[in-house]
């Protein structure tokens, strides 16, 4: 019915094209103003958190290990949407009211931090012990060996799984629409609520997400090739 009407009724087809055209810009605007900044900020903060958490997990200090373990366990054991709701709708009960965008950045950063910490921890552990020893043997301290020898190599190992996390994050930001961030999918919802063309508008949103992720996977390939030059 829906599809055949496009072919039999030229007026309807024209109307749909018009809607697709006029809704494209507001959605792209949502992507540029919110989806992309939200993704980038959360990923950067999340990665910093992830490296710290990974280092805490492999440290010999029991307290650090414990804190890192509990953090990862809580974030991995609860739904992201629930975490976002607690931050945005729950914290005001404690007198902490945050801007929707900031709430989302906090929620996504915590999430990336927990998941990526496991990736980074595994990558650090995958570097042969001889690399640490070679660093120590030329007089390096733990920190120097970590920063100069281990982390650069671990970074290379982490690129494929971290790219996966990054691409997931792009799509997960659509959850921010539920804590009132006017990111791309929120725009789509508003547009569709006005004209009832749910299939058209949401498909259009899906295509934009897909194009974004497509470019990211090209970027991933490029990075992998660059980092592979020395092996």
């Amino acid at each position: 019915m829906y599809l055949s009407s496009i072919f039999t009724d030229p007026e309807r087809a024209e109307k749909l094209i018009e809607i697709a055209k006029t809704s494209l810009w507001p959605m792209l605007e949502g992507a540029i103003m919110n989806t992309i900044p939200l993704t980038l900020l959360s990923f950067v903060f999340g990665l910093i958190l992830a490296v710290l958490t990974a280092l805490a997990r492999i440290s010999h200090v029991k307290l650090f290990q414990g804190i890192a373990r509990v953090y990862v366990s809580i974030i991995r054991g609860t739904p992201l949407l629930v975490q976002l709701f607690i931050i945005f709708y729950g914290l005001p009960n404690l007198g902490i009211t945050l801007d929707p965008f900031i709430s989302a950045v906090i929620g996504f950063s915590l999430s990336v931090g927990a998941y990526a910490s496991e990736i980074i921890r595994a990558a650090i552990l995958s570097i042969p012990k001889g690399q640490w020893e070679a660093g120590y043997s030329i007089g390096m301290t733990y920190t120097q060996a970590l920063r100069r020898i281990i982390l650069p190599q671990a970074a290379r190992v982490s690129v494929p799984p971290l790219s996966n996390s990054f691409i997931s994050l792009v799509k997960d930001t659509s959850l921010a629409s539920l804590v009132l961030v006017t990111e791309m999918f929120r725009r789509a919802q508003v547009i569709a609520a006005r004209n009832y063309e749910f299939l058209l508008v949401y498909t259009e949103a899906a295509i934009i997400y897909w194009v974004l992720c497509f470019f990211l996977s090209i970027l991933q390939q490029y990075m992998e090739r660059r980092l592979d030059r020395y092996v």
């Binding site: 020893e133 070679a134 043997s137 030329i138 007089g139 390096m140 120097q144 100069r148 092996v231």
Partner: protein, 244 residues
């Protein structure tokens, strides 16, 4: 002068070193031989504290560490700078070129300027015969070339003594010679060296003294011509018969 007194090392229940006493004078080359599990590699790794001895005193050129007491990390790091280590499987930094491998220690640990470090790294790589391979990554080099970079990397820290842990054991037979030649040159320049190896030719030609270890103790030490032709201990004789 290097001196080891009462060196013990225990891994859990297993006692690998059962009290080693050893002195090596400056400029001497000592080759350590012995069956696998005799503790020779562990002894070498204790000398630059890659393994922390259970007890014992190690001193190198006046600096000493007493392992019956707690030893601070800072003391360990500065003690390590007295020794240069060459590993069996090279352990070069794969994300750095040959030149960068050699420059890394002087820049990061000694705080030298890039210019100074580059100059010395270049001359060291030329010395080990790799003047034309400076910008190659380890993966682009043969085992013998990698091990020569490893020697240059250790020399760049200007150590008092060079430690070699079976430096040719991972190499294809035709590549062993080029590494041994670099080591021989180094010995002739008067570098103090402790070499764990199975290369008996090298021991015969270059060593001032050969030490035979077995079961975590030094069984016999003597000049190479003595130990190879006229071993005093039964265990030494058995070992030499097996490998020759």
């Amino acid at each position: 002068m290097i001196s080891i007194k009462g060196l013990h090392k225990q891994f859990g229940q297993l006692e690998v070193l059962k009290g080693i006493d050893l002195q090596v004078e400056k400029g001497k080359v000592v080759v350590v031989i012995g069956p696998s599990g005799s503790g020779k590699t562990t002894m070498l790794r204790c000398l630059n504290v890659l393994e922390t001895p259970t007890s014992g005193v190690i001193s190198i050129e006046g600096q000493s560490l007493d392992f019956s007491k707690a030893v601070s990390k800072k003391n360990i790091a500065s003690f390590r700078r007295l020794t240069g280590m060459v590993f069996q499987n090279y352990n070069l930094f794969p994300h750095k070129t040959a030149l960068e491998n050699v420059m890394e220690g002087p820049i990061i640990v000694k705080g030298e300027s890039k210019e100074t470090a580059r100059k010395r790294a270049t001359s060291l790589l030329e010395k080990v015969g790799l003047g034309d391979k400076m910008d190659y990554y380890p993966a682009q080099l043969s085992g013998g070339q990698q091990q020569r970079v490893g020697i240059a990397r250790a020399l760049a820290m200007e150590p008092e003594v060079m430690l070699f842990d079976e430096p040719t054991s991972a190499l294809d037979p035709e590549l062993v010679g080029e590494v041994l030649k670099v080591m021989k040159d180094l010995a002739q320049e008067g570098m103090t060296m402790i070499v764990v190896t199975h290369e008996m030719r090298f021991a015969r030609d270059v060593a001032d003294e050969v030490i035979f270890m077995d079961g975590g103790v030094v069984v016999e030490r003597n000049k190479p011509e003595e130990i190879f032709t006229n071993p005093k201990e039964e265990r030494t004789r058995k070992f030499l018969n097996m490998i020759q």
